[in-house]
């Protein structure tokens, strides 16, 4: 009986050991409480100047081609929104195909509700707002990924591991800005990553280069001499949907209350 007991117990012990070793990775408190903001020499930030945007849509076209998002697909990593505020206080907003082809008509594209003509003399103001992933400091999309397919690098860019993503869509639902979508070819989650392949070799994001009016700029928050850093430190900038606590890192000049 003793031998059998011994065998049984040692088997149990061996089997039990298999468990904690892999669990340790997760439950080490030091790792869990690791620095939320990792000190390093780069933290990418973006600046959008809505005073300069003309709605030409070259940024959207360049982004699609640079990042291989099919041109005809009705999804895009970045887009431009048009706001037309009329004298009766209504705000009309549209973004036809994400402004991939620009805004070729003054009519507002209300999707299924049709095209709306706004008489010129009823317009009190109109402007364009480019949008892209905010690479938030507290990214809710990363928080809700069940398998660790999306994550944030030390320099602040949130990426998606195309080989690991299971396509559940939780990250898409979790983003308050509507920045994420399913890639029509890879069938996994996709979003703007500031052209990570470009910025990590000293180039600028494709949309930044493509904008003829200088409405888009990318910079490094950790470099005090960076022109973008200087703008956000010295001028009045705003961010989108601050109340969600996401700490977005895309800053806007000229962001007004109408902007959704």
């Amino acid at each position: 009986m003793k031998r059998r007991d011994f065998c049984k117990k040692s088997l149990l012990l061996a089997g039990g050991l298999v468990l904690p070793l892999s669990a340790l990775e997760l439950f080490n408190p030091a790792r869990l409480l690791a620095e939320r903001s990792v000190p390093g020499d780069s933290r990418w930030i973006f600046l959008v100047d809505t005073h300069k945007c003309t709605g030409c849509g070259f940024c959207v076209k360049a982004c699609k081609l640079e990042n291989e998002v099919p041109y005809d697909a009705n999804v895009t990593r970045t887009w431009v929104e048009r706001y037309v505020v009329t004298k009766d206080g209504n705000t009309h907003i549209d973004s036809p195909k994400g402004a991939r082809d620009g805004f070729l008509t003054a009519q507002i594209d209300n999707n299924h509700a049709g095209m709306k003509t706004i008489p010129e003399d009823e317009i009190s103001k109109a402007f364009f707002v480019p949008k892209l992933c905010n690479q938030c400091d507290n990214p809710p999309c990363v928080q809700v990924c069940p398998v660790g397919a999306t994550y944030q690098t030390a320099d602040g860019v949130s990426l998606v591991d195309r080989k690991w993503c299971i396509g559940c869509g939780y990250c898409i639902m979790g983003c308050p800005y509507g920045v994420r979508f399913f890639h029509p070819v890879h069938h996994v989650a996709e979003k703007c990553n500031f052209c990570y392949h470009r910025i990590t070799q000293g180039l600028k994001s494709a949309c930044v280069d493509a904008c003829p009016f200088g409405a888009r700029m990318i910079g490094n928050l950790r470099d005090p001499n960076d022109p973008v850093t200087q703008v956000i430190m010295t001028q009045r900038v705003n961010v989108l949907k601050e109340e969600y606590g996401t700490k977005p890192q895309v800053f806007y000049l000229g962001l007004t209350r109408e902007v959704k």
Binding site: V75, W79, N111, C145, I166, F181, H187
Partner: protein, 417 residues
Amino acid sequence: MVHGEFWTLKEFFVYPNEYIYWSIQIVMYPFMTGLVAGAFVLSSLYHVFGVKQLKDIARFSLVFSFALLPVAMMPLLMHLMQPLRGIEVMLTPHFTSAIAAFGIVFTTYGMIVAGEIWFVYRKFFVESALALRAQSNRSAFDTLRLRLYTVLTLGAWDISEHALETDEKAVKVLASIGIPVACFLHGYAGFIFGSVKANALWMTPLMPVIFICSAVVSGIALCILTYVGSMELRKFLYARKRSQNPALPSNEELKSVETSVVIMTSKYLVMFLILAISLELLDLIFRTYTAVKSWDILRAVIYEIDFVKIFVVQYGLGNLVPFILLLLPGLTVRRAVLATVFVLIGVFMMRWNVVIGGQAFSGSFSGFMHYSLPIIPHNLETFREGLLGALLVIITPYILFVGLANILPVFGEGKED
């Protein structure tokens, strides 16, 4: 077309990447897990609280709960863009995400239900295996059955009084643990939605509790319904066998047992119905009163676009009508059946109104998205996330149940448990 584009109709300003990504299968998933949790709670009412009259339905709902389990996974597999990678939830779970809890909770719950079934049926496995072993000339099919039952005994052949008492205690323990786990199974499903701050309709701390209550409601309703259905089937079968075996209970005896069980279970159904509707109304009242930024668009969705789905179907048909039917004096089985059908429709509608309703408005709060369920599929995507995919999910537990009922005796013949 990109995923979601086919069944989404946009109106006014919707962000370019917004589509209804979580469609019919995500409505089915909490509906099916709700049935699982509810069926289990019902079974536990007998095993834990010793409500003797529920003995028959307890055994039945336990097995049905087990048949529902793999089906609960089906909508998820049909929804995932990469279903073959679904196992990653068990391999690299990211517990900051509610969905990652699925791996642990679901597996735990499955093991508890499986364990409980084992203890309930262990005597049957042993007796069947011994009987088959004693047979001198077995058919190939019978040898297979012998193997199956032998494996299912897990080597525990002792069916003495003492051993069987231990089995009963174990069942009680498992059923007791199972109730909070069943609550967790469905509570976390509610948390999946309730914790999404990006969605103005979903974000509420009440969501997990609302989901649990409505899950229990649906589970009880389904069990009453299926129990009555199975009793009707038995009456039919006995009518044919009675000429050979006059000892079989008469229709009157069967009917009186059935009625008392149904009336008793209906009381629990009413209790949970009251709880469920109170929470839903509380949520609505709070939103109306506080009128935060999202209230304008939510009001349009709740009171205009989805008015019929919410107030007429979910609250009216799914709650008010069953109340009246179940509370009016002189409750009959027929009336209870009608009430449970309405309850199930109401619970389904609740899932629909949460999932689809939450995507009926854009994150811009300036536009709407209308969902049209694909009926006739023209590709794999419209099959998976269409009517046929949903029907497949609904039918499968019944197929599995029939399979299980061939291995395990589900309808207590009166003498065994």
